[in-house]
Amino acid sequence: MPLSTQSQTEGDNYVLVASLDNVRNLSNILKAITFKDHAIFNATPNGLKVTVEDSKCLQANAFIQAEIFQEFTIREDSVGFQVNLTVLLDCLTIFGGSTVPGVATALRMCYNGYGYPLTLFLEEGGVVTVCKINTQEPEEPIDFEFCSTNVTNKVILQSESLKEAFSELDMTSEVLQITMSPSQPYFRLSTFGNSGNAHYDYPKDSDMMELFQCTKTQTNRYKMSLLKPSTKALALSCKVSVRTDSRGFLSLQYLVRNDDGQICFVEYYCCPDEEVEEE
């Protein structure tokens, strides 16, 4: 492979080397969380986690397990850095976004450690591009303290049914209200816009509902502007799990299949906008 000869000229100081035969297996997932410029990368022997945050109220994480990569070598327990995600995506898609069957762009991502840029080697059809992106000190991602023991309500839906709802959401509404309940209306998305209210009800016995575990009735509101970016992740996913905890914090977990059918995860955490009295 032409890329392996390249790396030798830079020395063997990499703390992280990750290779993909098809860069889209990384770029597509990253597009689902690109609503802010900066992303925190954290690599462990398990794989790569990319975090994007907004106003301390929203956090999106993309997980790409080590098994997805054709090569994933890490020399430390944890490697972290921060890069401009927009720039990174521009580089990853430097050969263009369109897919021609049989032609894929290969990626080799290398990082020398603290203070060094993130180096990307991209190759398509014999043409190689080298990109070096400056890295910054990684910020500590917010810990939303969302743990499974605190989860009051959980549903798993097939994404197809939610995609339509999200694409139709009344954007003049400032909030998206989510009601989850062991009784009617079971799972409801509501908006309050200029023209009036809209409610999307999913009954617990719908064939789109894969799992329904609601213990108590909860209604929470979340800023629409914070949740709207999650539509990208929804569009890529085949299933989504919606969980709320006793504080009303929302966890959305999306199961995404990449081009090769492998599974990756994207999750969104969101703070509630205001406390609504539980019925």
Partner: protein, 407 residues
């Protein structure tokens, strides 16, 4: 009011909303015993559309019209921008929606659209409505000297040749042929633009009746919605019109619905001077008034017996739930024959190329016959002798001689 539309009907209903959205920014909902009427009018009051769905269209229909006032007779005005998104993607509706329930909740001033979809999913939209006078345009299409009826495919093929940006077209009718051509008011536009003209023989129409040779110029854009609806439904389209300056009504109907679009037409400047135009109006009007049968021109199509009223004037007279007075034809004709000063230079923004403002070049005028709206902005002290064809339902006087548009 409460009604339920089953699956196939929801798409038809949605298409009607699309057609109405082409006309105006507001949607009037008027549930009456005869059915549910949906109407819209453009801001210039030069285009009006009405779709009437009979009770048979619905799986369930209760207009809730009880005795006289307030029990449920509603005059409901919605913002089109709120309603159209609910029916925007017709393909998705066709795939997903099992039924749609529409109800009007008077105490809360809300209209509720509830869609029951696949997989048990329910979508409910509550929107506020404005109480409003009923909207109704009266146009005695059975008195029109010229009538055309064509299969939707024919009309679709005809308008397809005009670019989507084409604002107005001129339809010319004579005993020998029907002509359609693009219309440009501006000299400069005439030089720059592509002109399209086509000609059809009477035999291409299902019904062809020419009472008076005429050239009418109207806004094509506003008509496209109805044509698209007709094509998707496979319904023939009828056109009733007279001389230039009088409105033209396009209509479709089937067992369960009627729809019509009434458009104002330009007084054609090319063939006559403005003063002559006025006089030319009168004879035409007289002829119009006097016509009970198409005596004027030979009718070359294989039409049936020469009756003026081959088919019911679809959708033209729909008594609103308010029971507002409906014009009598004779009163209307009296108004038409009273030519008066043609100083009504209502130049509507629609007929003016953008940025030119509302000044009227002497060569062309728009007669907004539909609504007798006189813009006092014109400032030349014009008084309209034109009747208002749309009356607000709380007027007593039958709407004659109103100086200002009722809406």
């Amino acid at each position: 009011m409460k009604c339920v539309i089953e699956r196939n009907g929801v798409k038809v209903f949605g298409k009607a909303i699309h057609a109405l959205a082409r006309i105006g920014d507001e949607l009037w909902l008027d549930p009456v015993m005869k059915g549910l009427a949906m109407r819209s009018v453009n801001s210039a009051h030069s285009a009006y559309a009405c779709f009437l769905f009979s009770p048979l269209f619905f799986q369930h229909y209760s207009p809730d019209t009880g005795p006289a006032q307030d029990c449920g007779t509603v005059k409901c005005k919605l913002v089109m921008k709120s309603v159209l998104p609910l029916f925007r993607c017709l393909a998705t509706i066709e795939r997903n929606v099992d039924s749609c329930q529409i109800s009007i909740n008077l105490p809360d001033n809300r209209v509720i659209f509830q869609f029951h979809c696949r997989h048990g999913i329910t979508k409910t939209h509550n929107m506020g409505f404005q109480e409003s006078e009923a909207l109704q345009a009266v146009f005695p299409s059975h008195l029109c000297p010229n009538v055309l009826k064509a299969q939707p495919r024919l009309l679709g093929d005809m308008v397809m040749h005009f670019p989507v940006s084409q604002e107005e077209i001129t339809l010319s009718m004579s005993p020998l042929r029907v002509n359609l051509k693009s219309y440009y008011e501006d000299e400069s536009d005439q030089m720059k633009a592509m002109h399209t003209e086509m000609s059809l023989e009477p035999s291409e129409f299902d019904y062809f009746q020419v009472g008076v040779d005429s050239d009418i110029t109207f806004c094509l854009k506003e008509l496209r919605g109805l044509l698209s609806f007709a094509e998707s439904h496979g319904l023939p389209v009828s056109a009733h019109f007279g001389a230039a300056g009088k409105p033209v009504a396009f209509s479709v109907e089937d067992m369960v619905l009627e729809a019509s679009v009434v458009l104002a037409t330009l007084v054609n400047p090319e063939s006559r001077t403005p003063s002559q135009a006025t006089e030319a109006q009168a004879p035409a009007a007289l002829r119009c008034g006097g016509v009970a049968e198409p005596t004027e021109g030979p009718c070359e199509a294989d039409a049936g017996p020469p009756q003026a009223q081959e088919f019911p004037s679809a959708g033209e007279l729909i008594a609103s739930s308010q029971g507002s007075p409906v014009f009598s034809g004779t009163a209307l004709m009296r108004e038409f024959t009273r030519t008066g000063e043609d100083s009504d230079r209502l130049r509507t923004p629609r007929y003016t190329h953008r940025g030119r403002g509302i000044t009227t070049p002497p060569s062309s005028k728009v007669r907004s016959l539909l609504f007798g709206a006189v813009s006092c902005e014109q400032g030349d002290g014009c008084t309209s002798m034109l009747p208002s064809l749309v009356c607000s339902s709380d007027t007593e006087d039958g709407g004659e001689e109103r100086a200002s548009g009722a809406l």
